[in-house]
């Protein structure tokens, strides 16, 4: 992205003869594009990401995301610590959905171990993962409002998220880096009264959801800022390997929870407990920013009904399977992809039969989703660029790992 340096004012060599005998000198004023580093310290990049944009006035003509400011060698650490010891590190790549990360890693190791998970642990996992999905979608929704200049919905979203974090704090003692789901089950059983509180949360949250919808989602300015902006067509979405709400926002009905089922999602789906929200172009074109953010907002409600289904079906029992204290994983390799709030979070683990993984690879959804920015950002205004970055809902901890 080198800028061509042209002199800003050039004279045409030949003057033009006017009818009255006068001569007119023609002048050409050319403007060169302005290169702006959006980030690494910028409020709209949701962390330390840099987007090198080239602008012609307010119009963005080229954009290039630069990653790697937050690289912490998570995968290499996974090859140097014991299987269980890697669990706290998984919290830290997508720090808004730590439960889901725990689940992905645990499931990959469990696949190698071939161990059976007790039913209560499965249900607790599902409840926690779905509540975490709501918390993550709340942040996505709130910060998206913040990107577009609406500050109040952000605080409303964080109010409910705060409650969720308190619920998590009660079951596992941490507010952000939970390390709650472990290989073979979960660490702790639900404390007394916890399931009732979750049920109470579900009832209250429904009203609040309507408030978000009325306050921001249908606001005319919000609609005009997001509809028809940053359109990703179905083909583009598939070509770029987008997953999660980015893919569903473009109208592709694909959800790993239903299509590559794990835990008891398939059972819940067949029981009619939840649906897969897909972008329909309600306010503009299919695959615009509004669709993407609305898929996330709808997913909150779907997760809520999933939690309700789990609360109905949870039963007493053990919370951890037959797992040795010092794990020795049989040799082999396993890949497990789960539906993270941001898309497919894949864990690939290779074991040689020892206490430490030989290879521990993570497929981060944010990283894969970010690649499309370069294609959809040119041709938009600076304000739209912010809206598009926000609609990808990246977590930089995950892109860089």
């Amino acid at each position: 992205m080198a800028t061509e340096h042209k002199p800003s004012i050039t004279f045409h060599p030949e003057p033009r003869n006017l009818p009255g005998g006068e001569r007119e000198y023609m002048m050409d004023v050319s403007t060169s594009d302005l290169e702006v580093n959006m980030g690494p310290q910028h409020p709209a990049t949701h962390g330390v990401m840099k987007i090198l944009i080239r602008t012609d006035g307010e119009l963005v003509t080229a954009a290039q995301p630069h990653l790697g400011f937050l690289h912490r060698c998570a995968e290499k650490i996974g090859e140097n610590v014991e299987w269980l010891q890697y669990l706290p590190y998984t919290d830290r790549y997508d720090y808004l959905a730590s439960m889901n990360n725990n689940l992905g890693y645990s499931m990959a190791v469990e696949k190698l171990l071939d161990v059976e998970i007790p039913q209560r642990a499965v249900m607790l996992r599902m409840i926690c993962v779905e509540l975490n999905r709501i918390a993550s979608a709340l942040v996505a929704f709130g910060t998206y409002g913040l990107d577009l200049g609406a500050i109040t919905p952000f605080l409303y979203a964080f109010r409910e998220r705060e409650w969720l974090l308190m619920i998590f704090e009660k079951i596992c003692g941490a507010r952000l880096t939970y390390s709650y789901l472990r290989i073979g089950g979960v660490f702790n059983d639900a404390p007394p009264g916890w399931l009732e509180e979750v049920s109470h949360f579900c009832d209250v949250f429904e009203e609040k959801w309507q408030e978000y919808y009325d306050l921001l989602m249908v606001n005319h300015i919000f609609v005009k800022r997001t509809a028809d902006i940053g359109v990703i067509t179905k083909e583009q979405a598939l070509d770029f390997g987008l997953t999660g709400p980015m893919l569903r926002g473009s109208g592709v009905d694909f959800d790993l929870r239903r299509d590559v089922p794990y835990l008891r999602y398939k059972e819940a789906y067949d029981a009619g407990a939840w649906k897969v929200p897909v972008g329909s172009g309600e306010k503009g074109t299919v695959g615009d920013c509004w669709d993407r953010i609305f898929v996330r907002v709808q997913e909150m409600m779907e997760s809520l009904s999933l939690v309700r289904w789990c609360l109905e079906n949870i039963e007493e029992g053990p919370i951890i399977g037959d797992i040795a204290k010092t794990l020795k994983v049989p040799p082999g390799e396993a890949y497990v992809g789960i539906e993270n709030p941001r898309g497919e979070l894949g864990h690939y683990a290779v074991s040689d039969g020892g206490k430490v993984a030989v290879r521990c690879r993570v497929r981060g959804p944010s990283f894969c989703n970010l690649a499309i920015l370069e294609d959809i950002m040119p041709g938009t205004l600076l304000g739209d660029a912010v809206a598009i970055i926000g609609s990808t809902d990246v977590v930089i901890g995950e892109t860089d790992r």
């Binding site: 200049g149 500050i151 304000g383």
Partner: protein, 385 residues
């Protein structure tokens, strides 16, 4: 540096007061109580100095109050308290504490900045807005300049702030600042038109540009003869004026020059400390100015039943003036609170939408209102006379 424009304004105010034919409460009082030995030319100057001192104090106080108010309003809208510690009762001294902090901060000028412009810009912005207040009466008998073209003068002075903002954006030598400055220029040019046009509607009804006369024209119907009740086109024009004044004062949803999530802080990116607070003060002073204009031309000015009955009861002039001032400030305070309420509700519009809204929506609607109001007034004249 900040003192220069203020001093200029003071001089101008002095000239205006000196040339006006009495009616100023300060001047009257001085004339009444000053000893014979004092030369006559000193009295108008003293009156001007006192008046300017009072208005600067009042504006500074209002700005400080409204900063605190904004934080409280935003806090309560967002289910939190806002400032609660400084000063005790609901953090009333927060703005003072902030002001002291800003004064103590290091005075920073970026290395590549145009130093002269960088320093002048905040002073110009604040000076312009103080200048606009010269034509704003605080009560029927207490004012600094009884200008015949008062409304015109205020609009002109308040759009002078744009020059300061553009200057700040250019002088900062930052790309974000430049974006902010360009946005401000485009936006203000676009919104001057609907702002002026929507103000035309009550001006047509009032038949004067003078703020005192316009206010006095609403004193019938027991002080409730406000222009919004007198002509059906004034109310929509008031809404248009409100929206345009939001854009004029760079308030959300039109805070594009700042746009903290897009342009970091727009033209303010490189400013800090007391210079930054000058821009901040200007924003709040401009909010008050626009609300005062709206109060004078749409919501009855000084007039309310309280003032009407106070006058009917023949209370002392000073009490009547006090009632009038409190009425006006209360009305403008309501306007300011609504501005804050809107700010904490809406997302920001995009720059092309700002332009579209200004040129394609507000301007035609304002023109319609002007036409309607003019026809209504003409019809009234034709039918009743």
């Amino acid at each position: 540096m900040a003192a220069l424009p203020i001093a200029l304004n003071a001089a101008q105010a002095a000239l205006e007061v000196a040339s006006s034919e009495g009616g100023n409460l300060t001047l009257d009082l001085l004339k009444q109580y000053a000893p014979e030995s004092v030369p006559a030319w000193i009295l108008p100057l003293t009156a001007a100095a006192v008046s300017v001192g009072i208005v600067v104090a009042v504006i500074a106080l209002l700005a400080l109050t409204s900063v605190w108010l904004e934080r409280k309003v935003s806090g309560h809208i967002q289910c939190r308290y806002g400032p609660m510690y400084a000063g005790g009762w609901h953090g009333w001294a927060q703005s003072i504490a902030d002001g002291i902090k800003l004064l103590m901060k290091e005075d920073m000028i970026p290395l590549g900045a145009d130093r002269a412009l960088f320093v002048i810009a905040p002073a110009l912005v604040l000076g312009a807005i103080f200048g606009a207040f010269v034509a704003m009466p605080l009560s029927p008998d207490f004012f600094f300049a009884d200008l015949h073209l008062g409304a015109f003068f205020i609009l002109g002075m308040s759009s002078l702030t744009t020059i300061g903002v553009v200057m700040a954006g250019w002088a900062s030598n930052s790309k974000w600042s430049l974006y902010g400055a360009m946005r401000e220029a485009a936006q203000v040019v676009a919104y001057e038109i609907p702002l002026g046009l929507s103000l035309m509607v009550p001006l047509i009804v009032a038949g004067t540009f003078n703020l005192l006369d316009a206010s006095a024209g609403q004193s019938d119907w027991w002080g409730m003869g406000w222009y919004i009740f007198k002509n059906p086109f004034v109310l929509p024009a008031g809404l248009l004026f409100f929206v345009s004044s939001l854009a004029e004062t760079k308030r959300a949803p039109f805070d594009l020059p700042e746009a903290e999530s897009e342009l970091v802080a727009g033209f303010l990116t490189e400013y800090s400390g007391i210079r930054w607070s000058f821009f901040f003060m200007e924003e709040y002073a401009a909010m008050y100015l626009m609300s005062l204009m709206a109060a004078v031309f749409f919501l009855g000015g000084f007039e309310s039943p309280f003032l009407h009955f106070a006058k009917a009861a023949e209370l002392p002039v000073i009490v009547c003036n006090l009632i009038a001032a409190v009425t006006l400030i209360t009305k403008s305070m309501i306007g300011v609170i609504v501005m804050m309420w809107v700010r904490w509700t809406l997302p920001r519009v995009r720059i092309d939408q700002v332009m579209t809204m200004g040129y394609k929506y507000l301007t035609p609607l304002a023109l319609l209102c002007v036409l309607g109001a003019a026809l209504w007034e003409a019809g009234k004249v034709l039918i009743f006379e």
